[in-house]
C-alpha cells in the first residue's frame, strides 16, 4: 500500500525529470554504441536522429507527434491494464478491431456531416476495442484463463479478420489490392495547420489527462489501483469487487487500444489494411514502462518513442543506418529499466521506499515477481 501514498509533489516531479533525462541519455548512448558497432559514424547517426525527430517543425509535427499518437493511446491501454494487474498484451489486436470498426462505421456514415461522422467512427473504434478485450476479460473472469495466452489468440484472430475483410466485404472496388477504399472526407480527422498531424494527438493527450485524474482523484481510480497493488487485501477488506473491477478495467484498456486503431485509420492511413500497425501494441509495453505506469508520463514517453521511431526512419534515409536499430534501443531501455528498478527494489526492500518503478501486479508484480 506504500505506493498509494502521494509523495511531496516538487520532489516527485524533480525525480520524474531526472528519470526522463536519464532515459533520453541512455537512448542516445545506445544509438551511439549500436551505430558504431554496426560500422556507421555515430555522430552522423545522432545528427540524423535529431533532424528526423525534433530538429525541425516538420519533423516534430509530421514525424514525432504523428507517430506518438497511437503509441500514447496504446501505452495508456497498457498502463491502466498493468496498474490493475491485468497483463493485457492484446493491444495489437484491440487496435486492429478499432481500425476495422472505424472503417466499417466510416463508410456507413460517410455521407453525413463530419460533426456526426467523426464521433460515430471514433466511438465505433472504442466499442470494438472494448468488445475485443471483453473476450479475454470474460474468459479470465469466468474460467480463470490466463489473459496472456488469450490476448495472444485474439491478436491473431484480429489479424486474420482484417485479412479477410480487406479481401472480402471491405475490399476496394477494383478488387486488386488487399485494402479498403479510402475513407470518405467526412470521417477523416482534421489536420493541424499545414502539417500531417491530426487532432488524434489532442485526443490522446485528453485521454492521458482523464486517466491521470480518474486514477488519482476518483473512487473508481482508487479501486483500480488497489486491486493491482494488493487484490487479497482489497478482497478481504470488503473494499472492492475485484473481479468486476478487473473486468471493467480490461474493457477500458481495450477501448483505448481500439481508439488508437480508429485514429490511425481516420487520421493517417485513411484505409484499412493488414499492416496497419507496425507493432504498436508491443511497443506500447515499452511506452508504459518508461512512463512508469503514470498516465501523464506515459504521454511523455509516447512522444519520446515517437521521436525515436521518426528519428530512426530519418537515420535510415539520410545515414543509411537500418531503422531496426530503434527496436534494439526499445528493448535495451526496457531491460535497463528492469535491471535498475529491481536493483533499487533489492536495496530498498528493508527501507521505507520501494524503487522508483515499483509497479503493482495482481498475480505477478510487473517488475518484481515477489508478491506485494
Amino acid at each position: 500500500m506504500r505506493r498509494l501514498r502521494a509523495g511531496f509533489p516538487a520532489r516527485r516531479s524533480l525525480r520524474a525529470i531526472g528519470a526522463a533525462a536519464s532515459v533520453a541519455v541512455a537512448a542516445a548512448a545506445l544509438v551511439t554504441v549500436l551505430a558504431a558497432a554496426a560500422g556507421h559514424d555515430p555522430l552522423r547517426a545522432l545528427d540524423a536522429l535529431w533532424r528526423g525527430s525534433l530538429g525541425s517543425e516538420y519533423a516534430l509535427f509530421s514525424g514525432t507527434l504523428l507517430r506518438a499518437t497511437p503509441l500514447i493511446l496504446t501505452g495508456l491501454a497498457v498502463t491502466i491494464a498493468f496498474t490493475a494487474g491485468v497483463m493485457n498484451i492484446g493491444a495489437e489486436g484491440q487496435l486492429l478491431a478499432g481500425g476495422m470498426a472505424a472503417t466499417a462505421v466510416g463508410f456507413s456514415v460517410g455521407s453525413m456531416s463530419a460533426w456526426v461522422a467523426v464521433p460515430a467512427a471514433l466511438i465505433g473504434g472504442v466499442a470494438a476495442g472494448a468488445a475485443w478485450a471483453s473476450v479475454p476479460a470474460w474468459l479470465r473472469r469466468r474460467y480463470g484463463v490466463l489473459e496472456v495466452i488469450s490476448t495472444i489468440m485474439m491478436n491473431f484472430v484480429a489479424l486474420y479478420l482484417v485479412g479477410y475483410l480487406v479481401r472480402g466485404p471491405l475490399q476496394e472496388p477494383t478488387r486488386i489490392y488487399p485494402q479498403s477504399s479510402p475513407l470518405p472526407e467526412a470521417v477523416r480527422l482534421p489536420l493541424v495547420a499545414d502539417t500531417r498531424l491530426h487532432i488524434g494527438f489532442a485526443i490522446a493527450l485528453v485521454c492521458a489527462l482523464g486517466m491521470w485524474w480518474t486514477l488519482r482523484m476518483t473512487a473508481a481510480g482508487f479501486r483500480v489501483r488497489v486491486i493491482g497493488a494488493n487484490p487479497d487485501a482489497a478482497r478481504s477488506a470488503g473494499l472492492v469487487d475485484v473481479r468486476a473491477t478487473t473486468f471493467r478495467t480490461f474493457l477500458v484498456s481495450g477501448g483505448l487500444a481500439g481508439l488508437a486503431g480508429a485514429v490511425e485509420v481516420m487520421g493517417v492511413t485513411y484505409t484499412l489494411y493488414e499492416n496497419l500497425s507496425p507493432g504498436y501494441g508491443y511497443t506500447a509495453i515499452a511506452v508504459a514502462l518508461v512512463g512508469a505506469l503514470n498516465p501523464l508520463l506515459t504521454a511523455v514517453s509516447g512522444v519520446f518513442f515517437g521521436a525515436l521511431e521518426a528519428g530512426a526512419s530519418a537515420m535510415q534515409r539520410d545515414a543509411g543506418i537500418p531503422s531496426v536499430l530503434a527496436t534494439i534501443v526499445e528493448a535495451g531501455l526496457i531491460l535497463l529499466l528492469l535491471a535498475v528498478s529491481l536493483v533499487r527494489l533489492r536495496l530498498a526492500r528493508d527501507g521505507a521506499r520501494a524503487g522508483f518503478l515499483r509497479i503493482p501486479g495482481a498475480r505477478a508484480g510487473v517488475f518484481s515477481g515477489d508478491s506485494p
Binding site: A38, M87, I89, V145, Y164, P322, T327, I334, V366, G369
Partner: protein, 300 residues
Amino acid sequence: MTEAVAFLEATVRTATPLALAALGETVVERAGVINIGLEGTILAGALAGVAAAGALGVGVGFVGAATAGVLTAMVFAFFVVTLRANQIVVGTAVTLLSLGVTGLLYRGTFGSAGVALTIPTAGPVAIPLLSSLPIVGRPLFVQPITTYAVYVLVPLVAWWLYRTHAGLALRAVGENPAAATAAGISPSRVQWAAILFGGALGGLSGGALAVAQVGTFAEGMSAGRGFIAIAIVALGRWSPMGVSFAALLFGAASALQFFAQSLGLAVPYHLFLALPYVLTLLALAGAAGRIAPPAGLGRH
C-alpha cells in the same frame, strides 16, 4: 489423392518448426514460466542457422541455431529467474531485441538487398519401407531430418516429464514452488534449466524453418511462430503428446491456404487461419477446472 498427400505433406512440414518450439515451451511452462520471448528465440535461431549452415554446412547450421536460441533464453532467464522480473515484460523485450539484432546483423553483413544469403536446404530424407506406406508414407516419412527429431523428442520429453525424478521436480516447481523448495528442490535452477532447454528447441525451430525449409533468412521470418507455439501449448494442454497433435492442427490450417484454391474451396482462407486460435480459446474455456495450466504459471 495426390492433392491429399501433398496437403498432408505440407501440414507435417509446416507443423515441424511449430512442434519443436512448442515442445520446448511446454517444458518451460511446466516449470511455471511463460516465455513470450520465444518469437525472438526462433528468429535468432533462423539467422544463426542460415549463417552457420552457409559457412560450415547444414549439420553445423542446426547446432548454430540451437546455440543462438540458448543465448536469447539466457537473457530471458537472467532477468526472469535471477532478477525475478516480470515474465511478460522481459519476454516482450527479448523478442524486440532479437528482431532488432537479427535485422541489424543481417543488413550489416549481407547488405540491405540481402540477396547474398541463400544456402542449399537440408532436403527431405526418405525412411526406407515406412515411406512407401500408402497415403501417410510420404507425408510422415519423407521429411527433413528436423521432423524426425520431433518424432524422437516428443516421447522422450513425455517420458522425462512423467517418469523421472527430474521431471517430477520440474512439474512440482511449476505447480507449487514453495512446496518444491521444502522438498529440497531449487526452483531457480530448475527454471533456468527449463528455459535453456526451451531456448535450444526454439532455436532449432528457427533452424528447421530457415535451413530445412526456406534456405534463406528474411527479417522477421519467424512471423509470429513463437506466439503460435504458445497457443499450441495451451491447445495441447501442456502435454508433449497433446502439443504434437495441436501443432499438426495449426500446420494443417496454414497448409490449407496453399491448397484452398486447388481444392476448389470457396471459403476465404483467412477464416481458416483464424480457426485454430478460436479453437484454442474454446479449449481453454472448456478445459477450465479439469485440465488446467500449471498452477504456478506466470506467478513464480
